[in-house]
């Protein structure tokens, strides 16, 4: 296999393809990619574009997360049924990495070398995608819209020019939550319950900007160790009466169970990633006899954040579109928040394809996202932050309180950025837009 040098890729491959295929001219191409001949990059033909993604379809991280690519696939099928983007059908190849970074390397290799994908889209996980970020950038394959809130997808454009985040980063989420607590619950004794990796670290950085002096306890759990009783006991011993928790959904259920056992009743505030009421409710359902309220009521009174409308907002035009797409193109099962997540992400990728124009190249796609990304309408409540200097995703969220599985807004949509950027109310009107008639952007 040839190991491409970054920057020379489009020219080299353009030459190679032209020589090998002497393909029919497409015309109207901009001069940057060598000119003449068919689209130059792997994964692109006149009527298809092939993309890939790796997700935990099996293993401990699979619950919930394995539904994301099914949502994205359904949306791509919807777009394909309307004729695709610029006449190209989207082919989406999904690989299972079991949330194991070693496997991620293997399957990503397959995607790049064997399936020759144009880009990876929506691939999931911080440790998993971190293990292939440099490889993809070296190979010149865009790593788009990574499903993770780590900062590393967007804050280092110089070293990873082809990597883009999608969801709000954990630091911004921490800042927004921290400021709200400082303003609305200034007397609370704050305890932090953190996953011991980027998730907890980034979030703690954000939270501490606002409530450093209110924090009385910090407990970290290791993902995989399901016994969190010592951590919850630690929070309880320091008499924390407001727990800000940055953890995955299974740990939301586990922490609720342990709190029940030790008689601990603080106000819980779970970050978006761990608060899906349907999933957590289904995990806790069986314990209803044991005095945990079952199903969607399991997290009543718990606070969390929201950055895309979820299944509880049945009046939202975006959710109505997702429901329609899922009914027509979806596979087994119901529409869930994870499928909506996948669809919302897929929508943004289709916008990027639209913006990149008829002559699709990797370079052109990246440029299109950097230039126009902040302007795109879409389901996200706050705009993307994409630019030539930042590849961070959605810029904000609102704080909600859960009641019967439905999030009641406590704030308007707040936007911010990493570092000491201010937190302001979003004035872009992003939360109020609605999808085009046929559900395909740009048409």
């Amino acid at each position: 296999m040839t190991r491409h040098i970054r920057g020379g890729v489009p020219l080299l491959t353009a030459l190679a393809t032209t020589l090998a295929l002497t393909a029919c001219g497409a015309g109207g191409r901009d001069g940057s990619d060598g000119g003449g001949g068919a689209p130059a990059d792997p994964g692109v033909t006149d009527d298809t574009v092939t993309i890939g993604g790796s997700f935990p379809l099996t293993g401990v991280a699979a619950p919930g997360y394995s539904e994301i690519p099914t949502g994205a696939k359904a949306y791509f099928d919807h777009v394909n049924a309307q004729g695709g983007v610029h006449g190209r059908q989207i082919e989406y190849i999904v690989k299972d990495d079991g949330y194991n970074p070693t496997t991620t390397s293997t399957v990503t290799n397959e995607l790049v070398l064997k399936d020759e994908v144009f880009a990876t889209v929506g691939s999931l996980g911080t440790p998993t995608q971190a293990s292939v970020a440099d490889y993809l950038n070296d190979e010149g394959v865009p790593q788009l819209m990574v499903s993770s809130g780590s900062l590393q997808w967007g804050d280092d454009v110089d070293n990873r020019p082809l990597t883009f985040g999608w969801q709000p980063d954990y630091e911004s989420e921490g800042k927004i939550i921290g400021q709200w607590v400082a303003e609305n619950m200034p007397d609370a004794r704050v305890g932090l319950f953190l996953q011991d990796d980027d998730l907890g670290e980034d979030a703690e950085k954000g939270v501490r900007q606002y409530v450093d002096d209110q924090i009385v306890a910090v407990e970290r759990y290791t993902s995989g160790n399901t016994d969190v009783a010592p951590q919850i006991s630690g929070l309880q011993a320091k008499k924390a009466d407001l727990v800000l928790a940055f953890n995955t959904p299974s740990y939301t259920a586990l922490s609720q169970l342990v709190a029940l056992k030790t008689g601990y009743e603080p106000q819980w505030f779970y970050a978006n990633i761990g608060s899906d009421p349907a999933l957590v409710g289904s995990l806790l359902e069986r314990f209803s006899e044991g005095a945990v309220a079952g199903s969607s009521a399991a997290l009543d009174g718990v606070m969390t954040t929201e950055y895309i409308p979820g299944i509880d907002s049945t009046d939202d035009p975006w959710v109505q579109l997702w429901q329609q797409v899922w009914d027509e193109q979806g596979g087994d099962g119901e529409l869930t928040n994870y499928r909506i997540y996948g669809m919302s992400q897929a929508y943004a990728f289709v916008q990027a394809l639209e913006a990149a124009g008829e002559d699709l190249t990797r370079e052109g796609l990246v440029a299109a996202i950097e230039e126009g990304g902040t302007e795109w309408e879409g389901p996200q409540l706050a705009p993307f932050r994409y630019s030539a200097d930042s590849h961070m995703g959605i810029s904000g969220m609102r704080i909600v309180e859960l009641e019967g599985g439905v999030g009641e807004p406590l704030t308007e949509v707040l936007v911010t950025d990493i570092g000491d950027a201010e937190i302001t109310a979003d004035d872009s009107g992003q939360a109020d837009d609605s999808p085009p008639e046929n559900g395909v952007p740009g048409s």
Binding site: V60, D196, L260, R286
Partner: protein
């Protein structure tokens, strides 16, 4: 003070589960001289059997009994069909075989029962008991765990020490040839050993699952800790397994609560190293007498 008490109580309950698992390992070791790495997925499989029964609308206890019985059968069948061909060969063969079983059962369970987290009910309330106005981290199910593990330990000690069957099982494990000459049906004894061990393993699976979440790999951490507990106790002594389980459960709970949860696995290995360095045969072993 409350944190100390709660950490200790959590450690105690968890230690009892490790002990139950270690008991299963000890049982199989005493009756067949094999370390069974497939114990964890075997227990996981039978726990899922219980879940299927409970999901079908039957009571928790029916599921409980179904899991124990299917454990008994699973152990016997695996011994007869899979393990029998390698018995009497080099020890490493059996070890590799059980590792293979580990992977196969894992895969099968994922195919048959699905790969997602599911909640497993508990027969007693999950709320902690109230003592003098404060809630302590011990609930009805925790007490049930402690009592049932102690009971199983007592039964095992009685089996090996006071019954004819126990003696025959030990004899056939110790030296098949001699046992056979003395009229012991070695084959049946080995099958019985596997069946009983699998039953005790199933109990451990049910105890750790109760009031928590299960998925095909939920027993994987228990296999490591249960193994450490069994080795601490000397692999040969039921009492040692229980003491080993308790030592491990309590220390790991305190490490997790007061030092950091990322050090739990490391702490388990440090304890193992210390014990093996200071008392190579384990805390309760009578190893020297066994050297031939």
């Amino acid at each position: 003070m409350q944190q100390f008490l709660n950490t200790a109580l959590t450690g105690l309950t968890l230690g009892m589960v490790y002990a139950a698992f270690a008991l299963a390992l000890v049982l199989i070791w005493r009756s067949t001289r094999i370390v069974n790495f497939a114990q964890a997925p075997m227990a996981m499989t039978t726990t899922f059997v219980a879940l299927v029964v409970i999901d079908a609308g039957f009571s928790y206890w029916l599921g409980f009994v179904a899991a124990l019985l299917s454990g008994l059968v699973l152990g016997a069948v695996l011994e007869r069909v899979v393990v029998r061909p390698v018995e009497g060969k080099a020890e490493i063969n059996a070890v590799i075989l059980t590792l293979g079983l580990f992977i196969v059962l894992h895969g099968l369970a994922a195919v048959v029962f699905g790969n997602r987290y599911r909640s497993f009910p508990a027969p007693f309330g999950l709320e902690g008991l109230s003592v003098g106005g404060t809630t302590i981290a011990l609930n009805g199910f925790g007490i049930f765990t402690i009592v049932s593990v102690l009971l199983v330990m007592a039964l095992l000690v009685a089996l090996f020490r006071f019954t004819d069957v126990g003696l025959r099982m030990r004899a056939s494990a110790f030296n098949q040839e001699v046992a056979r000459l003395l009229g012991v049906k070695v084959g049946s004894m080995l099958t019985l050993g596997w069946a009983l061990a699998s039953l005790v393993g199933s109990l451990a699976g049910l105890l750790i699952a109760g009031g928590s979440l299960v998925h095909p790999s939920y027993m994987d951490s228990v296999v490591v800790f249960g193994f450490v507990a069994a080795v601490l106790g000397g692999l040969d002594s039921p009492l040692g397994a229980v003491v080993g389980g308790l030592v491990l459960g309590l220390s790991l709970s305190f490490v997790s609560g007061y030092v950091g949860s990322q050090l739990v696995a490391l702490a388990a290995l440090v304890i193992l190293m210390l014990v093996l360095t200071l008392r190579p045969g384990g805390l309760f072993a009578q190893a020297p007498e066994r050297r031939v």
